[in-house]
């Protein structure tokens, strides 16, 4: 395995195109799932975790390599691989990566091995690992697809492993949660399927062929009304996935009942499939409609921020609290997306990564508490800090990042979103800013109740500090949190060109013009631009 990787790496160094890097990112975890499925059942328990880790880590390494090889000056799609798939449907295996998807791919590569390593899942490991690997293949496919049909296939395919992970390895009311998760997403994607086929057929006149290639569909030449209807269908699918406020009710159930790895992946990358979809397909394919529906989406985003935060405050279940905090954070991302300024959009893309890292880590920590104490009720937990100081320390850092304390990653994204939104949509930004304060309220209060004080009998006896395996899992998260908080420039440098290109694309299709203030990245980014000039 290792030698072939090195060989592949040297080959790619000579010609970046020859090695199908993106296809490998999708295919490798899939191969891993097959390998795991066919492991001999006699030795499956000892073999399955190393093999699962090997494949997820190899995929992670590939995504790391993609990050290094990515050309940050280029705004358009890189590493494109395009092969005809189903000719009659006009669909192809068309993968590509740009600044908007790059970090999501890297995040996926980063999160999966850790999600597999973190929780010690003992029940039917073989199927568990196979599902996680399959899930990774699907998620990679979602972020890399440049073909609507392929995207849809991946978008729906990921439902199946996640459904089984929640239904098979979850807690409590898992059947209900799993089914709700599946059906909610399917309603949205059903509408999207119709919209996408309609788009392809309507665009055929303008393009001259039936195709699902989004780079071609961007010039579909639709009438305003048609585009708005189609946008609504797409937006419905993604809004359910995000989830945007009135459609969010599946999320607390799914997150709470899912096994730890499931929650990490669900919050870490799968929610981003929605926000990513809103940017990649919503804005890119329907710029005029996006800007027309902007105020609605902005309002829903703000409602999500407030609603998620206020609901989180009153939660009795720690995991549910984190789940509702996701609703609030995703509200920020929606807000930044539909403010449609370079700064807010870059902030949104960055915030997707931030949220993935910090909420992923939070779910891991909550999962570990549950593994020890077999309860997630805040009322039952007390004084953990005394018995598990390292866990408390890690929890503090992760929590502060989630709150958005300067110096940690959460701050950068939220700040950019708020500033970028403020230029054009002042009041939305003002109201949204209160969400930051509420986040501090619910997280700090929860921390205080669970970690501070004297541990009672049950907590003192059952809770022990992080094991070595758990420490190995959580440290990468903390490192990333600090790096992204202190020095976000490498991240933003790669995000920016693509975001700028997208905003220009919107401007070319509508009479919307970005205020000059927002076009230059403002405070933080101005500093990094100066550095660039040196």
């Amino acid at each position: 395995m290792a030698t072939s990787m090195i060989f592949a790496a040297t080959e790619a160094a000579t010609s970046a195109v020859s090695f199908p890097l993106l296809s490998m990112l999708v295919v490798l975890p899939g191969i891993g799932a097959l390998v795991v499925m066919f492991l001999p059942s006699a030795r499956v328990n000892e073999l399955v975790l190393p093999i699962g880790l090997l494949f997820t880590a190899a995929t992670g390494a590939l995504s790391g390599w993609l990050m290094l090889a990515f050309d940050k000056r280029q705004a358009s799609f890189q590493f494109v691989s395009n092969h005809e798939w189903i000719r009659s449907f006009g669909s192809s295996w068309h993968l590509g990566v740009d600044g908007i998807s790059l970090w999501l791919v890297v995040l996926t590569g980063f999160l999966f091995p850790l999600a597999l390593l973190g929780p010690d899942e003992r029940h039917n490991r073989k199927a568990y690992t196979a599902w996680i690997l399959l899930l990774e293949a699907g998620v990679m496919g979602v972020f890399l697809s440049l073909d609507l049909f392929l995207f849809f296939v991946m978008f729906e395919v990921v439902l199946v492993p996640m459904y089984f992970l929640i239904g098979g390895w979850g807690h409590g009311n898992k059947t209900y949660a799993a089914t709700k998760f599946f059906l909610y997403t399917m309603v949205g994607s059903g509408l999207m399927l119709v919209a996408m086929v309609t788009l392809a057929f309507l665009a055929r006149k303008n393009i001259g062929e039936l195709t699902f290639d989004i780079t071609k569909l961007a010039d579909a030449g639709l009438s305003k009304d048609t585009a708005r209807w189609l946008f609504l269908a797409f937006a419905a699918a993604f809004a359910i996935k995000v989830p945007v406020f009135p459609l969010h009710t599946w999320l607390p159930d799914a997150h709470t009942e899912a096994p730890t790895a499931g929650s990490v992946i669900l919050a870490g990358v799968m929610l981003k499939m929605g926000t990513y979809g809103l940017i990649r397909f919503g804005i890119y394919l329907f710029p005029e409609a996006s800007s027309w529906f902007g105020p609605v989406m902005l309002t829903l985003g703000v409602i999500g921020i407030l609603y998620g935060a206020l609901t989180a405050v009153v939660q009795k279940d720690l995991k549910r609290l984190v789940a509702y905090s996701s609703v609030a954070h995703l509200g920020f991302i929606v807000l930044g997306t539909y403010a449609l300024t370079t700064q807010s959009l870059s902030g949104s893309v960055l915030q997707m990564i931030n949220h993935g890292v910090s909420t992923g880590a939070l779910f891991l920590l909550v999962g570990w508490i549950y593994e020890r104490r077999h309860t997630r009720l805040i009322a039952d937990l007390k004084g953990i800090q005394k018995v598990a100081p390292v866990m408390a320390g890690m929890f503090t850092i992760v929590m502060l990042s989630s709150i958005g304390v300067p110096g940690l990653n959460g701050f950068v994204g939220e700040f950019m979103i708020l500033v970028g939104t403020f230029v054009d949509h002042r009041w939305w930004a003002v109201v949204a800013a209160s969400g930051v304060i509420l986040a501090a309220l619910y997280l700090l209060w929860a921390y205080q109740r669970t970690f501070h004080g004297e541990p009672d009998e049950a907590n003192a006896s059952q809770i022990h500090d992080l094991t070595l395996r758990e420490r190995i899992t959580i440290v990468p998260f903390v490192i990333v949190i600090v790096i992204m908080g202190v020095y976000p420039k490498p991240f933003l440098d790669r995000i920016d060109p693509s975001v700028k290109a997208l905003i220009r694309h919107v401007e070319s299709k509508t009479d919307r013009r970005e205020p000059a203030v927002a076009a230059n990245r403002g405070a933080i980014v101005a500093v990094s631009n100066e550095e660039e000039g040196k």
């Binding site: 059942s41 006699a42 499956v44 328990n45 798939w85 189903i86 000719r87 009659s88 449907f89 003992r122 029940h123 039917n124 849809f152 296939v153 991946m154 729906e156 395919v157 439902l159 199946v160 459904y163 089984f164 239904g167 098979g168 059947t175 799993a178 089914t179 599946f182 059906l183 399917m186 309603v187 059903g190 509408l191 399927l193 119709v194 086929v197 309609t198 392809a200 057929f201």
Partner: protein
């Protein structure tokens, strides 16, 4: 038997008529070879089996003879396919049959359904202690009826095919002699089926009255050249034919027989019914509507729209409340009929191709599903309640994985053939600007997903308690085998399920070949 004699007489009559009239100088045997092989095989089999009754080898022999016959019939489609692709369609027997890509496509489906159902039936008969040969004979005959239906270019011939198909199926439904449900199913199917055939026949008569011909080409010609001002007669004929064929494909509101018959019939027969009978019904529906009555498109499209939406919705909604798996699948098959009707409603090339792909993929899925159900049903073919599926994954991972894929395919999840077929009809609807029906279809498939998932979860979740208790034990694989009685199944059944499984995934991932096949299976 009397029916056979009639059919044989009819064939003799036609050929002698041909000889005198010289409309076509000789019978094009190659063109009608699949149907001929199927009928001949059935006749030979019943003769051999009745001479050698009560010997042990009869059942095994019948199985392989049936498979052999079906394979031979299938082999004859190759030269035919070559021919219909390179030349114009062949019209045989005084234009009574049109052998074109369309009919070859359905011949392949019918023959495939015979083979798969036969392989499952073999184990079923052994388990149930039933005799056998007549079941295979009836199945071959029924398939020949389906082939005739798919190629019929004359409404009378179409009716003959329909009757050959149906009467065989009535008997097949009642072929489990010791189960009262099976007898009940047969009677119900027969009474309602006979009634719908009569309605269909009346529809033919009225259409003949309106157009002066029963030949579809002639009808089309007449309707193109003449504008029918008072078209009451034609409309009545058209609607009655829709009713008759709607019954065969189990479209709402002509679906009442489906749940009882699906539930009562022997499980492999139900699979055959859902695959072949539905395909044959649709072949007739598509041919009549898209060739003979193509000009009346604006009349029948709204009717088909309503049938389609009603079938999708009612099938899915009623499937949700079922506790019997076979009944649930009966309602789901009604729902699928609604989906296929979308293709007809679109009435364009994409719709035809989409409907064909759907029928092919659905036939494979449903045969696989009922093969699994046959095994799970156990001796007596009775264990079909949802509870019987609890923890299936523990009793037989192979069955559980296969059924999961089949059900996910029926729910239309990507990477299975179900998604490709669903996409095909949605594409046709979008092409024809029927957006409403496309949206309804997608929302209905969510309801569908709900009841498929319910079965899936029962299969997998039932195994939880056991596995959790055994996790302490490292060798849990070994003691699972001790505690749980593994389900055993005949190798032929295993093969069928594995084949259906492989095909379902293969079509889901690389469907281009099937789509090409369907695209070239044109009506001519």
């Amino acid at each position: 038997m009397s029916l056979l004699a009639q059919a044989a007489d009819g064939a003799a009559d036609t050929s002698s008529a041909l000889a005198t009239k010289l409309a076509t100088p000789k019978v094009d045997w190659i063109a009608i070879s699949p149907a001929v092989v199927l009928i001949a095989g059935a006749l030979v089999l019943i003769v051999i089996a009745s001479l050698a009754k009560h010997t042990k080898w009869v059942r095994g022999f019948s199985t392989w003879f049936t498979v052999g016959t079906a394979l031979t019939a299938g082999a004859f489609t190759f030269p035919l396919w070559d021919r219909v692709n390179h030349a114009r369609a062949t019209s045989v027997l005084v234009d009574a049959l049109h052998v074109d890509g369309f009919s070859v496509f359905f011949t392949v489906v019918a023959v495939g359904a015979v083979i798969m159902a036969t392989l499952v039936l073999d184990g079923y008969l052994l388990r149930e202690g039933l005799e056998g040969p007549e079941v295979f004979v009836l199945m071959l005959l029924s398939a020949s009826g389906g082939v005739v239906m798919a190629s019929a270019n004359d409404l009378i011939v179409l009716f003959l095919g329909l009757e050959i198909l149906s009467i065989s199926l009535y008997v097949l439904a009642g072929s489990h002699l010791r189960r009262a449900e099976s007898q009940e199913a047969a009677l119900k199917y027969f009474v309602l089926g006979g009634f719908s055939s009569a309605v269909f026949l009346y529809g033919i008569a009225l259409t003949y009255g309106a157009t002066g011909s029963t030949n579809l080409t002639e009808i089309a010609k007449y309707l193109t050249n003449n504008i029918v001002f008072s078209n009451g007669l034609l409309l009545a004929g058209l609607s009655l034919m829709l009713v008759g064929l709607g019954f065969k494909v189990a479209a709402v509101p002509f679906h009442m027989w489906t749940p009882d018959v699906y539930q009562g019939s022997p499980s492999p027969v139900t699979g055959f019914m859902a695959a072949a009978a539905k395909a044959a019904g649709f072949s007739a529906l598509l041919r009549v509507m898209l060739t003979g009555l193509a000009t009346q498109r604006l009349d029948w499209q709204p009717i088909v729209w309503v049938l389609s939406v009603a079938s999708m919705l009612l099938g899915a909604v009623l499937a949700v409340v079922q506790t019997d798996v076979k009944r649930m699948l009966a309602y789901s098959s009604i729902s699928h009929a609604g989906f296929i009707l979308i293709g007809l409603q679109a009435a364009n090339a994409a719709g035809l191709s989409g409907a064909l792909v759907y029928l092919f993929a659905y036939a494979v899925i449903v045969l696989g599903t009922f093969a699994v159900i046959t095994v799970v049903g156990g001796r007596g073919d009775a264990a079909h309640s949802l509870d019987d599926y609890n923890g299936l994954a523990r009793r037989s991972p192979f069955l559980a994985v296969s059924l999961t894929v089949f059900l996910l395919a029926q729910a239309g999840i990507p990477a299975t053939s179900g998604f490709i077929s669903k996409f095909g009809v949605i594409r046709a609807a979008a092409d024809a600007h029927s957006y409403a029906i496309a949206i309804i279809a997608m929302l209905v498939s969510v309801i569908g997903a709900f009841f498929y998932l319910r079965v899936i979860l029962r299969m997998w979740a039932g195994s939880d308690d056991h596995d959790e208790s055994s996790t302490a034990n490292t060798a849990d694989a070994a003691d699972t085998a001790d505690v749980v009685a593994q389900i055993r199944m005949p190798i032929a059944t295993q093969l069928t399920i594995a084949f259906a499984f492989a095909l379902t995934i293969a079509i889901g991932i690389a469907p281009q070949m099937l789509i090409d096949f369907a695209d070239r299976a044109l009506l001519r």
